[in-house]
Structures are given as C-alpha cells and as structure tokens.
Symmetry: C2
DNA sequence: AAGTGGTCTAGACCACGTT
DNA sequence: ACGTGGTCTAGACCACTTT
C-alpha cells in the first residue's frame, strides 16, 4: 500500500466540531478542485486514507460517499475511486426544430452528433397505441388513446436521453408516424405533410434526481441529476399535435434558448 | 417503540442477491410511491426498522441514505425521517422579460410572487466592481472589469434562487444600475433609458448537484439538484450588455419556453 | 495472491427535540 | 428521561480486478 504524497491531503483538526468524515471530504474536494487529482485520476484507496487519517474505514467511506453524492467522484468495484470526468456535452439550441433542419434524410440527432464527431445510436424503439397519462391527455386536448413512440439515444455507446412522443390517434393512426421509421425529417415532417403545419413548441424544463429505473436505463453515475423536458407541438390552428416527454442525463446536456425582449 | 403496521412493509428475500439495504430501500420507496406514507409523513424510526427487518442499524441507515440521495425523504435530527413534501413551484415563462412586465414599480419577482399568494423577499444584495471570470468576460465581449450585482431570492422564507448580474463598467458605472436599488422596472428598464434598447436574451441551462456552499446558501435538502442558468442580454446593436448567472433550487422551479417552428 | 471497493454486524457515545 | 438521528469504531466476509 503506497503512502499518500505529502502536501496533497492535510491533517484533521481535532478541535473543530465539524465531523471527521466531512473534514476528510472537504480535503479531498479541495484537492480535486485545485487539480491535485485530475479528471479521471484515481483517489487514494480507502485503506490508504484510513492509514493517512488514522480513522476507521466506515469514516473514510462516509467521506467518499459525500463526494459521490456531489457527483465529484465515482467508484469502480475492485479498481478504485476516480475523479469523475466530464463527458462531452450536447448543446440543444432553440432553433433545433426549425424547418430548415428538417430537410435532410437523417434524424436531427444523427446529423448533429456526426457533425460533432460522435457516434450516435438510437435504440429500444417501441411504437404502440396506449392510454395516455392524465397529464399527457390534458396537454393533447383530452384524447383517450394515443400513439406512443419510445426511443433511447446514445452517444459513443453511452445512453444520454430517453424520449417518448405521444400523438392523438386521429392524426397518427395508419400514417408513417405509426411506423418504426417515419422517414426523412422525422415525425414533424410527416405531421406537416398530413396538413398539420407546425406553428410553435412549448417546452417545460425540470431537474431532479433520477428514479432507480432511470439510473439503470441511462447508466447514470451517482450524483448525476436528470433534466426532464416536456415539449408540446402546436399546429397553425392552435391544436396540440404532439407531446414529447424526455429524460436526459444532466451531465450530457446544456439547453440553449433565445428569448425576445418584446 | 411502536411496531410497524403489518402490510406496509414486506419481508426480506434472503434468496435474492440484491443487497439487504437496497431491498429495504425498495420497500420504503414503494410504500411512499403507493401513498402508504404520504407527503410530510414520518417514516418508521431507525430502531423500528432494525427490529422489523432484523438487521443492524447501519444497514437501515444505508437504506435511508439511498432514499435521501433520491430526494424522496429528508431527516431531521432528533425528530425522524420524513417523506419530502414538494414545495410550491415557481414557473418561469419565456415572456418574463417582455417589456410590458417592466412597467411596474416593483421587481418582476415581487409582483409575480405576490400574485401567486407567496411572500417574496430579496436579500444579501451586494453591488461592487470586480474582475470578471474568463467565461463572463468572454460573454460580455472581453471587459477587464465589470459591475457585479448579487442577490438572493426567497419565497415564504425559503431561499430559492441566487443570482449575479454582470455589466460592463462603461455602461453601468455612475448610473442607477450601480445603486443597490436601481428603481422601477429594474436594471433592464435602466439599460433602455441609457440607450441600450434590448433586442433579445440568450439563456443556457444546466443541471447538476449543488456545491457545499450552494447547499448552505439555498438551504437545500439532500437529493435536490440545482438548475444553473446563464442569461446574456443583447441590445439592438448586437452588443451583450448584461450576463446574469443564476443558481436555482431545482425543486422550486419549472422553466417554460416557447420555440418557433420556423 | 493481493488489492480494491461492497456489504454487514454489534456495539458505543453524542446532539437534538419532545415529553 | 427518553426517543430520535449523527458519528465513529473494529472488526468480518464477499465480489471484482489486477498481478
């Protein structure tokens, strides 16, 4: 067991009334912030920290779990605890649904990811008719049944987003929208071909900790929240024609919007 | 010590390879989801859970800390562990900076909160000149010094948001913008009076776990992320005239935007 | 085989809140 | 005084990864 290089971590202040595990967490956090442990670097092992600070292992683990909760580090069984690297971030611009981005043969996600040098994938596509939740139904004007399109997006093998689109059956049934692959330009292009010219979108954004199911499906590290985005698309007659419910790994996204000053 | 009512929590599955503390967390989570423990209700005490499941106290605490990390429960020293109630949510609409909302004598936050029946407060106002971070400087076109306006917003005594506005000195120095109270309509009204008619805003949104400082300042419960919003205001000549850096308690906000389909 | 983190036990003492 | 959660110890055994 290697000793911890001197100067990297300090000593405990026994006169302080701050809990020992918090002091240890503070020192590790500071060392990370100051770059003494760089992104992806391995922290001292639990037993090294036990020896360095002269405390029990549970106290050290308590300190490390604080940092995990903050999203600063992640642990790998049998390997160690590492400073969590920041994954590449996907920027969603407010013009991402502009008609001009809809002309290509590929989905917007694919085009954009390849432009950024990433390898995009879409999986777990499910298309079925179902009964909407009360919230989705209300947003769509009260239909009793809807078409649901579910898919998961991955960048370079990492799942980053899980989305479900809901459309009223009277619009979507029997159209390419009900097919797994709706064709070039996606369902928005199909909606316009069906006479529902899109007028605007409304988006609602929340952030929260993920459910255990979301942790699994998005392979989220500890301390990573999700962004929950609900978008409603309106046609030029003011009718809501689609609700898209999206859960995103918060460390993989930055959302950008432009607001008028008028 | 009261026994736990039968039927509320099940028994452990010793044949499962799922860790015991996870099984306990699963059962408590399910009981909360199904409403067997309602918002604000007290969970069984640690010693009750110890007795019910026949495990050690650390195992029970481990289970409870899982739920805390998910933001489902919070603990109060000496009192118990409670299902975390959802605080009232503040909805930020995309027209919140429209000129028509700027005519009143009060700040937008105050007007809106009172309309919603809440008691708004603004505190810890600090106005000073300082050297901007590299990021803020770049967004403002590269000034070496800026005016910084810091304030914290509270609703019904609870801090919900902490914001700092940065403005180039050549615009703000010696104007009402550099005063603690910039007057009716806020700094955007003053900017327009100074000849910087506002054209549009750009907002960037991220979500992450809070730093220890943010936890303290916003009195955040465990398992509550923050929404980090950076807004840049542009005048009609295309010049960035303000950058506002805002950290919000994620459980107190929903952001709403409207996007054009063009 | 050796080192790492993951789980669990059975205690102990303390600080906080209520009765 | 008593029940609550907060902190800490000193072990134990296990599962995973690397040597």
């Amino acid at each position: 067991m290697a000793a911890i290089p001197s100067g990297v971590l300090g000593a405990l202040d026994s006169t302080s009334d701050r809990a020992v595990f918090r002091q240890i967490a503070d020192q590790l956090r500071e060392a990370i912030d100051k770059g003494r442990f760089k992104e992806g670097a391995k922290l001292p092992s639990e037993s090294e920290l036990v020896e360095h600070y002269g405390v029990s292992r549970m106290t050290v683990r308590n300190a490390l779990s604080v940092l995990q909760g903050e999203g600063l580090v992640h642990s790998e069984h049998g390997k160690g605890v590492f400073v969590r690297p920041r994954p590449p971030v996907r920027r969603l611009a407010s013009d991402r649904f502009a008609r001009r981005h809809r002309d290509q043969g590929k989905a917007a996600f694919t085009v954009e990811a390849e432009a950024a040098g990433s390898h995009p994938e879409v999986d777990s596509l499910e298309v079925k008719e179902e009964r909407p939740t009360q919230d989705v139904s209300a947003r769509l004007g009260g239909p009793r049944r809807v078409l649901a399109r579910r898919r998961r997006y991955l960048l370079d093998g990492r799942p980053v987003e899980f989305a479900t689109s809901y459309l009223p059956l009277d619009i979507a049934r029997g159209t390419p929208i009900a097919e797994p692959n709706p064709g070039p330009g996606g369902i928005y292009a199909r909606l316009e071909e069906l006479g529902h010219r899109l007028d605007h979108f409304e988006e609602e954004i929340r952030a929260r900790m993920p459910t255990p199911g979301e942790v699994k499906f998005l392979r989220l590290a500890a301390g990573v929240p999700v962004i929950h985005l609900i978008r409603t698309a309106f046609d030029t007659e003011g009718r809501p024609v689609e609700v898209c419910d999206t859960v995103m790994a918060a460390d993989a996204y930055v959302l950008a919007y432009q607001l008028p000053a008028t």
